[in-house]
Symmetry: C2
Amino acid sequence: MKTLFKNGSVINVFTDSVEKKNVLIEDSIIIGVGEYDDSDADTVINISGKYICPGLIDGHIHIESTMLTPAELARVCLPHGTTSIVADPHEIANVCGSYGIAYMLEMSENIPMHVNIMVPSCVPATPFDESGAILNAENLAPFYKHPRVLGLAEMMNYPGLIFGDESVIEKVKSCRELGLHIDGHAPLLTGKDLDKYVSYGIYSDHETTSADEAKERISKGQWIMIREGTAAKNLDALMPIFEEPWCRHALLCTDDRHPADLIKEGHIDHIIRLAVKKGVNPIKAIRMASYQAAQCFGLNKVGAVAPGYNADLLIVDDLNTMSITDVYCDGIQSVKNGVTLPIKDPVPDLQMSKAVRFSFNMPKLKVVSFMIPEIGKKKCRVIDVIPGSLLTNELIEEIDFDNGKNGIDVDRDILKLAVCERHQSTRHVGLGYIHGIGLKNGAIASSISHDSHNLIVIGTNDKDMIKVANHIRKISGGLAVCVDGEIVASMPLPLAGLMTDKPAAVIAEQNEILRKTVKDIGVNEGIEPFMNMAFVSLPVIPSLKMSTQGLIDVNKFQRVDLVVGE
Amino acid sequence: MKTLFKNGSVINVFTDSVEKKNVLIEDSIIIGVGEYDDSDADTVINISGKYICPGLIDGHIHIESTMLTPAELARVCLPHGTTSIVADPHEIANVCGSYGIAYMLEMSENIPMHVNIMVPSCVPATPFDESGAILNAENLAPFYKHPRVLGLAEMMNYPGLIFGDESVIEKVKSCRELGLHIDGHAPLLTGKDLDKYVSYGIYSDHETTSADEAKERISKGQWIMIREGTAAKNLDALMPIFEEPWCRHALLCTDDRHPADLIKEGHIDHIIRLAVKKGVNPIKAIRMASYQAAQCFGLNKVGAVAPGYNADLLIVDDLNTMSITDVYCDGIQSVKNGVTLPIKDPVPDLQMSKAVRFSFNMPKLKVVSFMIPEIGKKKCRVIDVIPGSLLTNELIEEIDFDNGKNGIDVDRDILKLAVCERHQSTRHVGLGYIHGIGLKNGAIASSISHDSHNLIVIGTNDKDMIKVANHIRKISGGLAVCVDGEIVASMPLPLAGLMTDKPAAVIAEQNEILRKTVKDIGVNEGIEPFMNMAFVSLPVIPSLKMSTQGLIDVNKFQRVDLVVGE
């Protein structure tokens, strides 16, 4: 089947030009760009006055952060011109191990968006983590044979590499020996440490937050991903990288992006729009988001409107606003007049589906589970959340364990915090106190808690905490709010406790209800409690965090007691 | 072992800049570029006032055309800064088949130059060829597993692809499925035919002879190799390709280069020098000849002075003259003050060595072998060589077969030509006449006759022709001159009849003697008889050529009789 797109203007990423040319495709492949006419094709599509440009590529995304399945993500992202993503299934791998990676591969099979996978490099993320799996080099190796696996995902353990941790080096080496890509994650690393890190063959990074940092990295051979996600927004700081010669080694990515933002603002097209508004030539921005992203990852059939390339094509009304009307992936129309055409959901293997859908392996919690021994008044370490930041402070506060509320003091905004191990039925529960959330009553709980995604609970009283925690356990994961013994808002995430099997619109609506509900029970201004809660368990962002086995002083990278001096 | 190069200026191919930085290497890998000092290294090399730049890459070369073994080629090319080549063993494969490819791989193992191999796509070159082997997709497949095999070499059979020859498509597809590179060879192909050709995934070409042709190719996604060899010189015509944006998809190559030219003028450094003389920024030319060549072929560890890259380094006195003093390959010094350090010749497997060294499989020729039936005077097709060109004309001349010299007429410069099948003992001999060589007596013979490398002979009398042909047979290949029954000059090429096991200097000297000798026996001005002879058997360059089974009309692409009208 040959299709001709005629009378359009082609964005040429090799020559940085716009050419009045017709594009001929045969099945999934572009076979000609030039003076073709109706007689060359079975179907003719007149795109007079419009542009035809290569599909956009997200260089680094966690699908789980969107809470959507790959197929649903495609439904949301295709109208925004995304025809390829490079995804790191780090979150689901921390819950389900190899099954999680295999699941994401299966769930993205035969959907009209190219879902390329980088295998997670750091499962578990830290030695403090009680995750659902441990993935060593030998566990990752089989995945490298999969045609959509491009390499090793963000190597966060840069201290491990720099200080010569053998198991970390083994992961990197075994990937590099296959000639595959290794992605980096090393914020603020510079000079000799950066040299050492890069010399292991880590040739891209998405954690760059300043132009100087980006320039150093590029001069050392790294590709820079300009990230603009929901929380982390680096475009402004990295605008100088759109200049020559830096732009030749830069691409775009979102990393973590909330589905509501995807729906409302867009995806990679949104980043292009922002850049163009700031004066960047749209052709350059498109080149970075297509051909250069493909170059970075060694993808040799995507990223250009040229013979032999996949027919991943966008029909665009206006380059400056990136108003995309129609999208083709592998030559098949997937978006028509801005609307995604039906996509069939892949059906995963039953065994695998079970592992993902029943990812909770923990006994039911009882009131006693969250009890801290009543030892009178003590000076304690309290986690202090900071509005608009994932950083926390350590507060030293006097806690009266015998105050009848086991130390909780709503007036002083000191709430109880519990992180419950939920993978191996160890019954480990890390208990302590958190300041800055602002809840006046009820409790909230979530199975999204980086990076091991144990069950995390914050509350004004033990009863609601137990209730909401057991609710999340019962629905095999999700986000919920309990007030006065009743679940008043809930977002089930039955897939590994991270993703929904529902449409994005449902998630967006449930999210709105959750936001409204936590506001009703008094959450502080500037606090997104589920977002803050999700990072309270991640012991790589300073200062004080909570693990399943108690508090972690991130700066000292060691466990500390709740009570000071004990 | 850590070595520090200090006080030099580093050529940065990512940023197009020169940076005053020190370079630290550990064994074969660059581990740092920055403010390192003596305390970081075991050995310190002061390169004050000099430049340090990545080793140069020849994007397309036939080692056999240099008549040298890979190790000897390395000895010649290393002082010119070549640390990597991409070689197509097309010639030896036409003689020895898979053994020939395997031999070139073995003979280039562990030498201080990266010899990357592209497997030959067209063995035999045409259906008229009686070659030493037929290589189908299934014969090529095993080689793709070799770490130094990068893909499929110059796909000359573009009509085959365009008109859908299944066996040709199979070769291309099986390479592309592995994600490997396919190199092109499609001179003057343009428009829709070029689209069709490129759409098979053929993303480079070295046969581009004009800037417009190059620009069309680049706009369709091909990398352009700017070729400057011994016979084919395209630099002048392609100078506009050194401009942006074209230069971003261009690299340099030599294709076929005579050893005397390599010694006298240089290799890729010579092309850079020529370009710089014409006003090209040397940093750009170096970038094209290093990083970009690596990008074209998907080589991810060569082509830059950056952490993680192979320590393939050139120490250069002056960028404009590319005066290279020292060369390091994989961190080991291979050239010191312009002189190549000793290289150990690889010792090939005995079986393989036999196949290559005893490549002549033909019975001894007798006087009768070259006899054409004495049928009186007839109008005949005569090959007319053109000085300075590989093209030939077809002359129609009256030949008197009964003139006592079996039609040879030295006064009219009509000499006898024989192409003797030498691979399968078929006793096939193509016989006819050639005009324009100018020999007054004696005969010359060669085992270099493209692309099947049968034994080709031109002479003023049958006796000398038989003598010189049997001499070549006896020495298992080479070039020779016979006068009055005596071999007066000879260049033995015992390796497949194509290469010597002697040093380049010996070949250069023997070559000088051959040139002088043919001059003495009357060769015409502007004729390099062995060069012209080497292409008289190649039925893809118009107009009239000679095969082992008689004359070929190249334009009609069919066999024709010697006598007109028969």
